[in-house]
């Protein structure tokens, strides 16, 4: 009779899930382009080059991101800031900044390597292109505007979720800076312009507590 109880067990699983599904409960898939699932805070999406609240670029053209990249998809050339019109607060700025999205593996090592938090990852994940050269994102696409908004490649698409790029430094904010537990719960990142008002992630104990 073991066979029959095993059969019954299986039928009970599909039957109960099916009944719940019949009333629209417990369905995990969504109507994708119309209905997006909520992405985790630390989602590794397309990169964004950030600015300081005063409009200066954060990137100083040091090429550490390019060095850290395991896929060798980042190409950076730095240049001296022109004294009459400085682009970044330091001596140099990122003159050329290109990421080949066909090679990028979205590991986030560039974000960890960046000394000025210039490059961070957003929640944008729809990056289909119709030819290979479009997959190489240049500074025009990556750099945020002075008001903190990021130009969206498919801004005319009715299904595009334009708020994905607002989470420009979401990954940075969700992580304890440098992985040092002592800084947990403290805001340790540099501000960006625009809607940059996320609270720091609470520390480990709060997160593990039942209501954290």
């Amino acid at each position: 009779m073991g066979m029959f109880s095993d059969l019954w067990k299986g039928f009970k699983v599909t039957g109960s899930i099916g009944l719940r599904g019949l009333f629209g409960k417990g369905i995990v898939t969504t109507q994708y382009p119309k209905e997006m699932r909520e992405k985790p805070v630390r989602f590794h999406g397309r990169h964004v080059l950030n600015r300081y609240p005063d409009g200066m670029e954060k990137c100083i053209g040091c090429e550490l991101c390019a060095g850290a990249c395991p896929a060798r998809c980042i190409y950076v050339r730095g240049a001296d800031n022109p004294p009459e019109d400085p682009q970044s607060p330091g001596e140099r700025f990122g003159y050329v900044y290109e990421i080949n999205m066909l090679r990028c593996i979205f590991c986030g090592l560039c974000v960890e390597a960046c000394p000025t938090e210039a490059i961070t990852m957003s929640h944008l994940f729809e990056m289909s292109v119709t030819n290979r050269s479009d997959a190489i994102h240049t500074k025009d696409e990556l750099l945020m505007e002075k008001d903190g908004s990021v130009p969206h490649v498919y801004s005319e698409d009715p299904f595009a979720d334009l708020s994905e790029l607002d989470a420009a430094d979401g990954w940075m904010r969700a992580t304890s800076p440098s992985g040092v537990a002592a800084y947990e719960g403290e805001k340790m990142w540099q501000d960006t312009p625009g809607s940059a008002s996320w609270e720091p992630e609470p520390d480990q104990e709060t997160r593990d507590s039942p209501d954290g």
Partner: protein, 371 residues
């Protein structure tokens, strides 16, 4: 028989044909939705409300797709096979009585494609014909995966048809003992009529309860019902007996080399067969169109269609069980399939046949050696 009678026959046949096509369109959509629910998915949602037009869209797409005829096919058999699959599928459903006959202007209009007096034999014959389609398709494709699928189909059909036939014999024998009849019958309309009423009077001391239980064959013949149902799942090549078209092992099985409308015909035949098998199971075991019609309580036209509704309702309960099985059970291995067929179902159905024969004999003729 004048031309009006001829017209009525044509109306009947076309009516059943159209009804079956509509039901099949709904069935395919329903299967996708039910299985999606059981897997926590949404299923088709885009074409029409809740994706109900998805099958229509798929059908149209297949209709306009290119036919690809592989170079090595045996052309005659290759072209014949899809028709050989669809035609028996339709013919099987013609046998199912959808309701009691109507009387219109002195002429009788049975709600049935055709009432053959050898209905059950015809069904068995046609369901065997459907296997020819699979075998021919597999053999004529000139490619190894379809051939494997076709070879599997032969063995599977032979093993499960035997069990199915034996289960049917038990039902035929039982319905020969219904009150007020003196012989058995193979006509499905007759078998349904003999299931009307309740069980009152069948077993003396249980009478107060039996008066409320409809006189369906499933109650005394429950073992035959289970055997018939399992064999029906195997006959229609459905999961977990879908070795004939096992995607993971042999691509599409017998229909690997078919495309466009020819593939659609195999697909259509499979779903028609599912519904026919469920309708036949409902007819043989669940009282067919029998059910309360509340004559005089509801309007006359409603009483007239209620039997059809009852039959569809009973069939759909079984169809959902088909889908439920598909969503739950993994495919059987080939030796498990053969073991279940030859070592379990056939001996069990034979044993059941003997037991029910003996019991029916005792009830009918009394105990031997007594008086």
């Amino acid at each position: 028989m004048d031309w009006i009678d001829l017209l009525l026959v044509a109306v009947r046949v076309v009516g059943v044909f159209v009804l079956l096509l509509l039901l099949t369109v709904v069935n395919i959509w329903m299967e996708r939705k039910v299985v999606a629910d059981m897997q926590s998915r949404l299923g088709p949602m885009r074409a029409g409300p809740w994706g109900i037009l998805q099958t229509v869209a798929d059908g149209l797409k297949l209709f306009f797709k290119e036919h690809i005829t592989p170079r090595k096919v045996d052309l005659g058999a290759y072209l014949l096979a899809p028709f050989l699959a669809v035609v028996p599928a339709f013919l099987i459903f013609m046998m199912v009585p959808l309701g009691p006959g109507l009387e219109i202007g002195g002429r009788s209009l049975p709600l049935q494609g055709a009432d053959l007096n050898i209905g059950l034999l015809f069904i068995l014959a046609m369901s065997s014909m459907a296997v020819y389609a699979v075998v021919l398709a597999g053999w004529s494709s000139g490619s190894k995966y379809p051939l494997l699928g076709g070879v599997r189909a032969t063995a599977q059909a032979i093993s499960y048809e035997a069990a199915m036939g034996l289960a049917m014999v038990a039902v035929v024998m039982f319905s020969a003992t219904a009150p007020g009849v003196d012989s058995g019958t193979l006509s499905l309309a007759e078998i349904v009529e003999r299931q009307s009423g309740t069980w009152s009077g069948a077993v003396g001391f249980l009478d107060p309860v039996l008066g409320y239980i409809p006189r369906w064959n499933v109650f005394p013949q429950v073992v035959a019902f289970v055997i018939f149902f399992i064999a029906a799942v195997a006959e229609t090549n459905r999961a977990p007996f879908d070795l004939v078209e096992a995607e993971q092992e042999i691509v599409g099985g017998f229909h690997t080399e078919y495309s466009g409308i020819r593939f659609a015909m195999f697909f259509l035949a499979e779903y028609i067969n599912i519904f026919s098998m469920c309708a036949i199971a409902a007819t043989l075991f669940l009282g067919g169109w029998n059910g309360p019609v509340w004559e005089g309580v509801v309007p006359g036209w409603m009483s007239a269609i209620l039997p059809v509704v009852w039959l569809l309702l009973k069939s759909y309960v079984l169809v959902v069980v088909f889908f439920w099985i598909r969503a739950t059970l993994p495919r059987l291995r080939y030796d498990q399939l053969m073991t279940l067929g030859w070592k379990r179902l056939i001996p069990l159905s034979m044993l059941w046949l003997v037991i029910s024969t003996v019991v029916i004999g005792f009830r009918h003729f009394g105990l031997p050696f007594v008086g």
